[in-house]
Amino acid sequence: MTAPEEPLHRRLGLQDDEYDRIVETLGRDPRPAELAMYGAMWSEHCSYKSSKIHLKTLPTEGPAVLVGPGQDAGAVDIGDGMAAVFKMESHSHPSAIEPYQGAATGVGGIVRDIISMGARPVALLDPLMFGPLTAERNRWLFEGVVAGIGGYGNCIGVPTVGGEIHFAGPHSQNPTVDVMCVGIARADKLATSQSLTANAGSLMVLYGAATGRDGIGGVSVLASATLDASSEESRPAVQIGDPFAEKLLIEASLELIDRGLLEGLQDLGGAGITCAVSESAARAGMGAHLDLDAVPLREAGMAAFEILTSESQERMLAIVHPSRLADVEAVCARWGLTTAVIAELVEGGGLRVTLGGELVAEVPARSLVDEGPEYDRPMAPPDATAMSSASNDPALLPFDKDVREAFFSVLTSPNIASKRWVFEQYDSIVQGQTVAGAGSDAALVRVPDSLKAIALSSDGKGRYGALDPYLGAAHAVAEAARNVAATGATPLAITNCLNFGNPERPLVMWQFSESIRGMRDACLAFETPVTGGNVSFYNESSGSAIWPTPVIGMLGLLNDHRLRVPTGFPRPGLAVYLLGETFAELGGSEFAEAVLGVVAGQPPRLDLDAEAALLRFLQAAAAETLLASGHDCGDGGIGIALAESAIEGAHGFAVTVPGDLPAHVALFSESASRAIVSVAPEHEVRLTALAADHGVPLSRIGETGGPRVLFDGLFDTTVDELREAYETAIPRLLGEPV
């Protein structure tokens, strides 16, 4: 609770020096509405003031990149004049208050980012992190978030084709809810600021839902100054998503773009109308006259600052030449959407706002958008006593348990176990292009009317990040790329969502910069530039933050989806190969946590050149159709990767775990740059030669076949036993009949 004597700007989240900047910019004291506008636009969420200087170090250029960071979403060239548009965003904070609506409106927000690029949304992915399901509140959050993502995504006709879920104590108070959306557009129809042709006199048309007192908690302190208490109560803590309205927005917006009726398009998200109008004006190098009386309101008596900063959902802003206005209105009406001309572009950079005929704000548009503060916040690594050190390497801990038992504990740990309970709540097939959905290392979504498919994977490595944020981020990029390459596709570019604690704490800021460094090095090594992303800070309660968790959304391209490599063993009689080398690396492993009960040690080393070689090899082998199946070897190690391929393909195997490491180390080590592939006997010679060409170590470890699963000299089970354990683990934790 902020003390009442606090000056207004502080209660709006503005620092004293930021306030001085505003006074300097305006040459006078700001009006209340103006303070609200700066407070919203210069917030961490909108201005990236703490992260900017670090994000600048990320590689953003590449032959495939059409649109890099700074736009609503990034875009890459996928050939034939088509572009894939993608972006990831977090809605963790709202989801912690009301999981269903928080997650649902998160889907709505990221989908509008894709629409505003002029692309049709074709896929969603939902990387999530929660506290352990043993706690009732975590189950409530988990079930609510999943239902919310499905409830919204299913209703707008965009398939949810992938994602991931991890469970960890530090995420109990603050679940991590990220959503990635991918769209497809004709490259020449991309709606970007470059394509903005607006001039003075162009109109800003707000269409979609009416504006209510939504998501203005941040500036609500102004209420005391300007409003009576009653409106205080009517200010909702959370928002109700309206997926039906969103579906209409999608269709109307795409029709408007397709018919060339727009000069620009912008979604309304953080900072609402203020952000959309000032950004559109600033991008056009102009100012605007904004008439708040024209904004359709859901409630009477809204104050200027409320209308200006409301974050009501399902709204879009179109820049329209007056000669096109009637057409635009007709298209929206056909889709049952209300339109309102709320502003007009004017010469000069001034944003002039009136309500009830009175001037309520007059500020330079650019000062809101481009002249926000930037901080180089102090950083400090954790002290030596921190977990991550070779001294407590789990590989050195005594292990006398039964390997079979340990294997099933890892297989049924919620991080590893089947997420079917989740992904069956999502429509993964609408639009009819889902070549491979959940269950595949990377989802494959066909580009309509072509043989091409885009490959999508989202990965975060929170546990590694907790031990070493540099490696955590690098491994996340590596696993995402490996998931894509395992299907035979070529990794092209990434988006990301960076989930961290309070950036004003030097430790958190250090974690952040280390993560950026790791992401940078990995992206350079794999030639997968960063096309955009989102930063979510302040994920902490009472001084304890979530694990530093950069989540990577990788987009790849498969030129002929018929060449896709499945994750499961497709038939018996195939040779099974392990690609890559296994070292004694149990630091931060699933085994260490699930069986030994420790999150400790050093995460596996990551040789970026070896990883890049593996990625190239997987694509080459797929192109020569040598591979019957391919699965990246990640969480849980070789044993789990083999089990997943057996369950997915419904064929067993007999293997000998290679090397002379202790059995549990060999089986559960999470050494990087490895994959499990199966190969028809006639291709073994060629595969071996190709591996040599690429410098990828490989060892033949056994064959596929039958209902039986045999780890020679270790233990023996069946595919059915594996599936039963793998599929029922999460329903059991939720107390459901299995």
Binding site: I97, E98, Q101, A209, A210, G212, R213, D214, E233, S234, R235, P236, A237, V238, Q239, I240, G241, D242, P243, F244, A245, R298, E299, S312, Q313, G336
Partner: protein, 84 residues
């Protein structure tokens, strides 16, 4: 004694109500142009076995807060009990 109650759960004022909105915008096409303020909520009927009505009602109150409604976004009202 056994008392039956009805709990009416509705979205808090100020929250947008997509369902109400959809119904409202469908009405004119059906010839009803004089309807406003449509809000769609839940109606829960149940019976409670308790010593007396006061006790039963108190329990329903608690059930409404903890289970039948979502206090973050909803408010509720309990209809007069009548002995079943």
């Amino acid at each position: 004694m056994r008392c039956s109650f009805e709990v009416l759960v509705s979205l808090k004022p100020g929250l947008s109500d997509p369902q109400g909105k959809a119904v409202a915008s469908a009405l004119p096409a059906l010839g009803w142009t004089n309807v406003s303020g449509v809000r769609v909520g839940k109606h829960i009927a149940l019976e409670v076995e308790a010593a007396d009505e006061a006790a039963a009602r108190a329990q329903v109150e608690e059930m409404a807060v903890r289970l039948l409604s979502n206090p973050v976004i909803e408010e509720f009202r309990i209809l007069e009990a009548e002995e079943a």
